[in-house]
């Protein structure tokens, strides 16, 4: 018997709703809050206000676009964290209210965990065990995934997330927001060996990441060669800087992921989160295919925040988790403090 899942994601700047029938995505509506662009970043107050103003429309569009009757929904799922508290509450309360009104089950889903499974959607299932790299504006985490819902965190960023480094360097270069796609685009016509920005190596845990050093070295490079240079802005190619910076970040991400794969003798790799859309990152990871590694990326629409991955994770829980007592979930606090070590 198939189950129908209605899912909602509002952890940051996207309001999104989706309908799934088992693992099939029947609809996935994402409202990218375009006005964030003019602020050069995510604005929480605006974000939660925007979620409130659009969530009803987005949810209706997801339901009507799925061709599924509202009365046939079996489970409602929503992101429970981590994220901006104000934004999370909008989606969470919407979903909980829906579940109470309809008398159906509610399940809270961890945003990070759902990124991890985003590679599955509409693609081949990745065999366990696999190494998962989740890399976005807010997170850079490396997992060893042994089974469904069984994870070991190998490392994570000790300062900036990789996507945050992209955004901050883009801002230094006078580019817009989000910085990732802009730097990716500029880097295509740049020389990535123009300048070597030093990668950080952390002594305590070889799988941890650090990107603030790369960010700061770009800042110093620009100060030395750009701001104090009387030749003016034309003296430096944004393409070359973008390419060199991107190379430093991409190398750090791939090296550590592949080191973990080798050390744990794992052949399957999943790379997800917004930065997984970076073309240079994909190219670098794909090089390892010749060594017998299987590399998975989510389809682009599922790499950034979306409700389909939330629904998909709820589907996996309903199918594989022994803890099926979803009713209890509704009494959990609206915002759970997220502890990576208590997955």
């Amino acid at each position: 018997m198939s189950i129908t899942i209605f899912s909602i994601e509002t952890s940051c700047d996207e309001t999104s709703a989706a309908i799934l029938r088992d693992n099939q995505i029947m609809s996935n509506i994402i409202s990218s809050q375009q006005f964030h662009t003019e602020y050069g970043g995510i604005v929480p107050e605006l974000a939660s206000r925007a979620h409130i103003s659009v969530i009803d429309k987005i949810a209706d569009a997801a339901i009507s676009g799925s061709g599924i009757n509202k009365n046939n929904i079996d489970i409602v799922a929503a992101t429970i964290g981590p994220g901006l508290i104000g934004s999370l509450l909008v989606g969470l309360n919407y979903a909980k209210s829906f579940s109470i009104a309809a008398g159906i089950k509610f399940i809270g889903i961890n945003h990070i965990e759902s990124h991890l499974y985003s590679c599955y959607i509409g693609q081949e299932i990745i065999e366990f065990p696999f190494i998962a790299l989740i890399v976005s504006g807010g997170h850079t985490i490396l997992f060893l995934v042994n089974d469904y819902f069984s994870y070991k965190i190998l490392g994570q960023t000790q300062d900036d997330a990789a996507g945050e480094a992209f955004d901050k360097v883009a801002k230094m270069l006078g580019l817009g927001y989000p910085g990732g796609p802009l730097i990716d685009q500029l880097a295509k016509d740049g020389n990535e060996n123009f300048h070597v920005f030093p990668k950080s190596y952390l002594k305590e845990n070889i799988y941890d990441f650090s990107f603030s050093g790369i960010k700061t070295s770009v800042l110093y490079y620009l100060k030395k060669n750009f701001i104090s240079n009387s030749a003016g802005p034309a003296a430096i190619s944004l393409n070359d800087i973008s390419a060199s910076f991107q190379k430093a970040v991409v190398t750090a991400l791939t090296e550590k992921t592949m080191l973990a794969a080798k050390n744990f003798n794992v052949k399957n790799i999943a790379v997800s989160g917004g930065v997984s859309a970076n073309s240079r990152l994909r190219e670098e990871f794909n090089k390892y295919k010749t060594e017998g590694y299987k590399i998975s990326f989510p389809k682009p629409v599922y790499s950034t925040d979306n409700a389909a991955m939330i629904g998909y994770t709820a589907y996996l829980y309903s199918k594989y988790s022994r803890n099926r007592n979803f009713e209890k979930n509704i009494y959990k606090p609206a915002f759970a403090r997220f502890d990576y070590n208590k997955f």
Partner: protein, 141 residues
């Protein structure tokens, strides 16, 4: 104080952390890459925080728990544009808590914070990429 490395910056952070009390608010001033997060790592380590302390730029506030079970709120207002936005994310609720509040990029909300906030200024040192001047003002001047 003059720090010659991120490690040394963390060490100064530990010294600052060891003198902080309940309900203290500490403001961190300094441009991108000056080491504000590094300093806060040191402060949190002195306070007995076990969680990973990293940049909250994206989600605006990280919460940690100190060794004696008090909340530590690590704000980063880098992306915000007005004091109103900070109030709307619940600044008052955080201020009511008994915990310690650490704020990076506090310029927006200087005027609305209670008196007596401690301040830390970190600045780059000309001609030396690894060095930083760190000034700690335990009492507002």
């Amino acid at each position: 104080m003059l720090s010659k490395s991120p490690e040394e910056t963390q060490k100064y952070g530990k010294a600052i952390g060891s003198v902080l009390k309940d309900k203290d608010i500490v403001l961190f001033y300094g441009e991108l890459g000056s080491g504000k997060t590094q300093l806060i790592k040191g402060i949190c380590s002195a306070l007995g925080v076990k969680q990973v302390v990293n940049s909250p730029t994206f989600i605006i506030v990280n919460e940690y728990v100190s060794g004696d079970n008090k909340n530590i709120y690590h704000f980063d207002l880098y992306r915000l544009k007005s004091a109103e936005e900070v109030i709307d994310i619940g600044l008052d609720d955080y201020l009511k808590d008994r915990g310690i509040i650490l704020i990076e990029w506090p310029e927006l909300i200087e005027d609305i914070l209670p008196a007596g906030s401690k301040k830390v200024f970190i600045s780059h040192v000309n001609g030396n990429e690894n060095s930083r001047y760190i000034k700690f003002y335990p009492v507002e001047e």
